[in-house]
Symmetry: D2
Subunit: 364 residues, 4 copies
């Protein structure tokens, strides 16, 4: 208990922290204020990436056992919601960086070649821990993303890629969720009947829409046919695997159905936290996607179509990753399978009872 009193600057290691900004411009002349900004914004990003990794590791640990206690799900949601808050902050950092003009950036950017943000091993690890499918990862002129990393950074990113990802663990957890068949009732059959009614209505909407001409109607009918095929795949394991092979799905069949069940019956008490967990995963994905897109816009505004310092065509690479590096696109796809609340089949009382609490919060 006889600890020394803690001093703010020592606790935060400020003397060292505030000495880590060494502008390259300072090596060939006077250090530029704008390069300090450039360094500090990137150092702030890396500090936040470290925190994101801490949160993701906490979630990974939590999901590592054979069972997940309900009382822990709230904590996992908390970790993911913190990541979402951090992605919002990352977005706000772009607003600060945009106070730098191209005239000023160009004065030191050549000094940075060939360094590049692609080389952030922490960011690559974040993508890997979330579960970015290596097959969908963008290459850099055909080269693997690790080709630009130092041996240590490469090892680090690869370790994250080799370890189980949140996507994989969430898949396993979803696949274990009970309730989809219970006492004679089956979720698939019940849902299928409701879905058929919806698709019929969808077809009517297309047929009746006075705004559609023949071309538009054809396009819509093709889209509906494609949706129907996707719907069929829900009920046919082989068809589902075919979608997976084409890269249109990443979750396992069983996990996808469980995620759908959770989304549809989120109001059941026991499904509330599972639902919030899935929603938080989507929010994390959307947070990074939005950041990548805004980042691309900013780079385009800063250097135009010039070559990036890392040797790629800058903003086009970034813009492409915004779309491609989504991890939980299956969860976003679930919205296609939603039903109107009033058309949602009521659960049998036995199932509903099983999804409730032992006691009641307001029991008198």
């Amino acid at each position: 208990m006889a600890r020394d009193p803690v001093y703010y600057a020592d606790y935060l290691k400020l003397p060292t922290l505030l000495s880590l900004q060494s502008p390259e411009s300072g090596k060939v002349g006077a250090p530029m204020g704008d390069e300090y900004l450039f360094i500090i914004v990137h150092q702030a990003y890396e500090l936040w990436f470290k925190q994101v990794l801490i949160e993701l590791d906490a979630v990974l640990d939590g999901f590592s056992g054979p069972a997940v206690a309900e009382r822990e799900l709230g904590r996992f949601v908390g970790h993911l919601e913190r990541v979402v808050a951090i992605t919002r902050l990352m977005l706000a950092q772009i607003d600060v960086l945009e106070t730098m003009t191209a005239l000023d950036f160009l004065d030191f950017r050549d000094l940075l070649v060939p360094a590049s943000g692609f080389q952030s091993a922490q960011f690559r690890s974040i993508e890997n821990k979330l579960g970015l499918d290596p097959r969908t990862r963008m290459t850099i002129h055909g080269a693997h993303y690790t080709s630009r990393l130092s041996p240590e950074d490469k090892a680090r990113a690869e370790a994250a890629e080799a370890a189980p990802s949140i996507r994989a663990r969430v898949d396993a957890w979803l696949a274990r969720i009970p309730f989809l068949e219970q006492g004679g009732w089956g979720f698939r059959e019940s849902y299928r009947a409701a879905l058929d009614a919806t698709l019929t209505r969808e077809a009517e909407i297309i047929a009746e829409n006075p705004m559609l001409d023949a071309i538009g109607r054809g396009v819509q009918e093709a889209q509906l046919a494609q949706n129907r095929a996707h719907f069929e795949a829900l009920f046919d394991a082989d068809a589902y695997e075919a979608l997976r092979d084409k890269g249109e799905r990443t979750l396992s069949h069983r996990a996808f159905l469980a995620a759908l069940f959770i989304n549809l019956y989120r109001d059941e008490p026991i499904l509330h936290l599972p639902y919030r967990l899935l929603k938080a995963l989507m929010d994390v994905d959307e947070g990074f996607t939005t950041w990548r897109y805004r980042h691309a816009l900013m780079v385009s505004r800063m250097i135009g179509t010039r070559v990036g310092t890392g040797g790629t065509s800058g903003h086009e690479y970034l813009r492409a990753t915004a779309e491609k590096h989504k991890v939980f696109s299956d969860l976003f796809a679930l919205s296609t399978y939603m039903l109107p609340r009033s058309k949602l089949p009521r659960l049998p009382a036995s199932v509903e009872g099983a999804l409730g609490f032992r006691s009641g919060v307001s029991a008198g």
Copy 2:
């Protein structure tokens, strides 16, 4: 089913909506673009106030019965979180209004006398439905807030004041929550023991703090003594009522204890949604508080210490309401009673069991 096709502009009543902007400046000369902005920002506020009232009414309805089903709590949280999102938007609208300069505002503000934002019957109703204590409501130079309202608006605001508020209904709901005493275990005793240890530690921190001189130590000791008195009141119904009479508490004793219990044991599955509900109420309160404060800053920047159009000294009134018109200050006060997670007494297995689900989400 034979409905007419819906047209965007008809659905939104755009021809009427877009004709409701009649600048006073247009009556004495050319209408000013900045007065259009002034009208539109206030109309947008009133549209959003209408939505806030819809959400609050949904919560009030939900809490009107003798019992609240767990499966409904998630929906109430959703209503309140939407209100929070709307308060953020209200904040963003200030950024737009701040693009107007004082030079331009002054050109038409005299034409608006004696109209004033105080006269928003919807905003007064929001405060009343949330449960603003009429005793703490600011008067306007000693006059009641309704004295500025038209008869219809007065009736409306008073109806909202007379009807049960969310604060009153949440109080009743909290007071009904079971679990605080169960099978020989009592929350009060268990918590009191843990709290004593914390207060002892708190006193040590003050005694040992090398940064405190005699004056500072005295101030801190007085603060701690006051906290101790508040803590004592937790366990003494009469002392608690005394605090209530002084206006330092608004919730009933039983409700306050239940709110404390929920905050401390929020990880228990059955308490998760009740916790989120209390948190959402605080977020609503903080949202309106922050908005009032920023609003006050903006007015101060726009008209300085001039007389407001409604005849009050503008920003000082607004700044005072930011502090005074908080509704759920008791919930904020709970943070004083929190314990470190590691010092939180473990619930007996019987109680913990009672707080869990009938089945398990990941049961194999």
Copy 3:
């Protein structure tokens, strides 16, 4: 002077305003709170669109004469910065709308067919007034955007398309700006020399970059060659017109050069406001682009790959317009032509003098 006292609710036409929300769900059952949200968010959008149009009209009027006084430019920048502030608010409104779930939206969205946000005549007019090139505008399954509008709305959008746009007027204003040739000095020659040095350095960066393999180097060299061709077009009116014919440029040659000059020499007092005007135009463009993109993400999350109420495949249309409906892409392209500040040719004293003030702010 004998005006009636103004009352808040009358001034804002609140009785009418607050009666304009008629949910379709209310015609077939109980009106849904979420449909109120849907209506109110769209009504708020239309109110803000009205304000955007007021600001754009003020800019258009300002630029309509043969000359623009310097003392007016600040005012135009103010109008555009207000539009930027409004686009930020539009973004924040998406956060509120996202509190609605697909389950709840689907309960009333079929009732809205075939209405659609494409039918916002005000938004089409904003695009037209900004100067969206009709050739780049997205069609809806091959049909013209006006095909979905009522006769009045069609007339309105077409009038905005037929009238001079901000892009056209800014082009004419830029083309008139003097200073590009003055007393023997010519901007083109001076800039060209500096640019050649930069391109040579750019080629070295590619040649020396140790991170590039043969493929990457080839890609970069092709990009540089393309940039060189674009640079050449700066100095060759025919080549520039060829780019324009291909749709790669929209500004006139003379205007493009003037915009480049302003961006490079923005620190000269007389060019400061012209620079801020161009920057504000880019901010407006980026504001709408970001909003369209986030809107697309939200729709994708809400309805998945379903058919939109208006009969398009919803989010894909929106995502495509985010890219395609940019109006001032030429100004963004200028960043490709920037020089490092230290490589910027100094203006001859005679030109610099001409760009300054008659007196000095701090003249003693």
Copy 4:
């Protein structure tokens, strides 16, 4: 030119940067994820404070000479607007920190005693460089703010206090601005006449306002009388100094008048950048004020009325500084002196000419 290729992680000193997080909780058990968050958010603050100091120093340097060239003002505005952008980011960081609950914070906060955010020497230096009047600075239980700092930090903060501040330099620059008297025309007389008319109108508004009863009217008349006294002080150097002695003004008389002139005639080309400079100073002030206030709300939510780790009553200290530590309150006060644009006396042609450019942007 033979520089080594730059590597991302080396450039940003990542191996060191990412090793500077040493939770105290790790010394007495397992390090807590929430303490990492606590450290990282504070380290990020300190990084941004460093950047703020860089920007403020650039402004201080720029204002150090006997004259400030117009072409430099734009640059100073840029520095200050970057500071504003950073204050917005600081606000966003609170959102991230608020994802930590009191339960979790309390688990390590005792370990931090007596460290405190008051000990941020960089933040104290920011306040000092801006020009916080030492007389208005809050004491900590009567002790000077430097009493909590280490000798090095104390020296640093005191050096910033001893050096000329931005407030002082801006004051000197404003006091030198010409144009207030020119060729027989005097700003004071011209303004005074317009002001009298406005005050007369103000008195009428109070007299005629049907919403005011006797008490309200009395309050308003007292406020108007006080404003009148302030107005008189504008034209009476001794009365102005009396206000200054009372701490109601900090700028010199001459500087205050110049700031008023600039605010009123901001549309004149030569006054545009001076106006934006003053506006940016207010934005900086408002940015820090808003941050302090939100910070206070957050602390109140986190620890309630407990003693802060630094030995103060936490949020009350912070809330008080939000109000008291404003530096440019005089500039905010200017809004009281604004006139309606239509009542603004037109400048004589000779003065207006002197405020214009040698040439015209659209000449020709």
